[in-house]
Amino acid sequence: MASDVRAGEAGWHVEVANLLVTARGASGVSTPIVRDLSFGIARGEVLALIGESGSGKTTAGLSLLGYARPGCHIAGGRVRVGTTDVLALSRSELADFRGAKVSYVAQSAAAAFNPAQRLLSQVVEPALIHGLMSRRAAEAKARELFHALALPDPERIGDRYPHQVSGGQLQRVMAAMALIVDPELIVLDEPSTALDVTTQVEVLRAFKRVVRDLRTTALYISHDLAVVAQVADRIVVMYGGEAKEMGTTGTILEDAQHPYTRSLLAAAAPPGVPEAAADPAPPLLDVADLTAGYGGKGRAFIPVLHGISFAIAPGRVLGVIGESGCGKSTLARVVAGLLPQTSGQVLLDGKVLPARVEERTREQLRAVQIVFQSADTALNPARRVGPILARPLRFYHGMRGAAAHRRVGELLDMVRLPATLADRFPEELSGGQKQRVNLARALAAEPRLLLCDEVTSALDTVVGAAVLELLAELRRELGLAMMFISHDLSTVRAICDDIMILYAGQRVEFGSRAALRQLPRHPYTDLLLSSVPQLRQGWLDNLGAMHLREATGEPTLEDGARPCAFVRRCALRIEGVCDRATPPLRYLSKGGTILCHHTEAELSLEEVEDVAGPAQGASAVPDLE
């Protein structure tokens, strides 16, 4: 094609030069959100745009389609895709161009699909409106793509409506919608961010395979270096609307020059703290056989936690990990007294902690403090920082006036914030500052146990790492015990002594950080650990089938049977056993316990076979140190 030759002359298949995108603020003043951005993508190459929220990466990605969100405006620069000068196109030409030459895959597939139309008709729509093929041909091609993207039941999944399909599958259906037109460029905007880690691996693998097989040119937008390391050939690091560094994936990972890139790399792999020595002291918090759920009283009861037991010794940190919906936040709410358990006991200092907040003594309330995930919603937007912090001081310690004012200053200092912030409203603080205030409010009570519910998840990587560091310091200084809840293994690794793994409300594995490093593990722990992307190239490619093994086929579940929670996905399930009976609690010789029908010997055997497999050499499971 003639266009290929000309594109070749310029060197790049896709080229962005001096892009300027502005946004009109509430006051009517335009501020640049992408500034002087230039990059090129060679044909068949995958380029990653990496940056945190607000770095302008999505805005830059959308400008490749000649699109700016309402309130934004592409104010300057050049965007060329193939032979098309995108910014010079008229409205009508843009409609012909979008979805035909460049396709877009959005972050939330659940929101990006029209709820009133079947998937197939949405998938074939770009091919039909651009007149690229007949409906019959387009539908056949869609099914091919469903096959290639490893979607279940590819022949009929298109007949479903969006809400009838899971998030990971929808994300792949959207990729099919983008690929059906054989675009010159596909823009993937954080396509795996909203997914659980075990689902993310699946989606990444499918994307990577298809993009490679079809030799598609792609722009991959993400905040996650480890994910980008698996899929991208080259990386552009964005910060504050500008490109800070650009290079091949290898160079960025091994030899980053810009300080921001370095801080990003450092934050992606926070250093582990030394493990606290096991304390023979009686546990501070002792939870026994806890069961809890939502609903009841007329509505259907939905159980969330089943028979959870664990203990936290004074000054120790317990990590709780699991994917969304596993019940980890519910656990924090039960311990905090916000959701009364249906059975089981919580002991604080050996004394029963009443189930409901209203029945707890002020001393008990003071000892256990909860820090919520999102500081945006955890701080009352109508009150200033000073009063927010002064409230617990007065409530628990009867402190007011000058004493409270002084203490507020001390608390702010404790979380490394200047005392002047006391006069600000939460919305005048940055995300990291808000989370520190959130933490300071809990510290104001002078608690002995801190329940941290995903406290770094809503923050950008670098900011999150700093908050994590602060927590580790506070723990050292104040001797705080913590229950640290997260879906992210690397943050748990950075701070915890013991780790509990939850799956569908059950404690499938429990042990010290050291014990979890050793084999054998519960099959789910294994799946979870091996799904976490690692910050090195080739991790995804070398990931053998065995470490990511999940069951195929549906187990036959009988009514009334109480199977293992993990039976549907377990590759090691024993027909007739795992689908019938609740698994026993097994003590392993490495220390710790698992909930599994397999004996330690059986599990060890399975995993030894794994190690002998093709993934030899490269450890597929991250170090926990």
């Binding site: 403090q369 919520f372 919603t377 009352n380 409230r391 409530f395 005048e428 995300g431």
Partner: protein
């Protein structure tokens, strides 16, 4: 380095429309207070032999069906139109907001009882409901204020409840609950400060609805009773002048429209409409 704070609380200035509408609303309320002092003629004083006179220098808004000065009548009437609607709106909005918050914070039983009661009240068409009450109890000012308040409480209740339910589910309220705070402290300390704007907006809306309702009742002859007259009643008593094209019919109706339109425009153009948390 990647965590720059946002400087300054974003407070958009009032738009010109909001300023203008606000000025008219303030003027209307001033008339309700000082109107009688400004009037040249007494409320019932017959000052002209010409009935339904057109606008003139002596009678800027013409005269009514008895030959009374319309300007003075309108100035006196403001007391009734605004003075009856205001307490009714305060009652409706206040009761609705308090009950709505209570239902959201106190939970199940109270919530269910209050919500069902409000559902029943809201399923009565407003004007029809007031006609039934007026038929039974007559139309004293007390009856009118209470009827209007009862009719518009459910609307305030629903809005306040839904906002308070949203706010109760936020982490800062959960944090307060986990701290051990009581229901009243949570309502007044955590929830109410975030409801100021929506409650004010709702109050403005209720006020407009009530002005319209009471004016309609008066227009039907079932509202404020003679010898007193609100603006709605003045339209009715002068309706005969319509065929003569007398300003006496139109002027009071226009006065109502000026009041209600400016309140509505003010509400619609307030910065940060809705709860402050929604601007994000």
């Amino acid at each position: 380095m990647s965590d720059e704070p946002i400087r300054g609380r974003r407070r958009a200035p009032l738009s010109p429309v909001a300023l203008a509408a606000g000025a008219v609303v303030v003027a209307c309320f001033a008339l309700a207070v000082f109107g009688p002092a400004l009037a040249l003629h007494g409320e019932g004083a017959i000052v002209s032999r010409h009935i339904f006179a057109p606008m003139s220098a002596a009678f800027p808004l013409g005269t009514d069906y008895l030959g009374r000065d319309m300007l003075s009548r309108v100035l006196y009437g403001a007391r009734f139109t605004i003075g009856v609607a205001l307490p009714a709106a305060l009652l409706a909005s206040g009761a609705g907001t308090m009950l709505g918050m209570l239902a959201a914070v106190r939970g199940r039983t109270l919530d269910a009882a209050l919500s069902r009661t409000m559902d029943t009240l809201i399923s009565l068409p407003t004007l029809i409901f007031s006609l039934v009450v007026v038929a039974a109890l007559g139309s004293s000012i007390t009856v009118l204020v209470l009827t209007a308040a009862v009719i518009y409480t459910p609307g305030s209740y629903r809005i306040a409840r839904s906002i308070a339910v949203d706010l109760s589910a936020t982490d800062f309220v959960k944090a307060a609950r986990a701290r051990g705070e009581g229901g009243l402290a949570i309502m007044l300390g955590e929830i109410l400060p975030n409801m100021v704007m929506p409650v004010l907006t709702d109050f403005g809306l209720r006020f407009v609805f009530i002005v319209l309702l009471l004016s309609s009742l008066s227009f039907l002859g079932l509202g404020i009773q003679p010898p007193y007259s609100d603006w709605g009643g003045m339209v009715r008593e002068n309706i005969e002048g319509l065929s003569a094209g007398a300003p006496a019919v139109i002027v009071p109706a226009v006065a109502i429209a000026i009041l209600t339109i400016s309140v509505n425009l003010l509400i619609d153009n307030l910065p940060g409409r809705g709860s402050p948390r929604r601007g994000e």
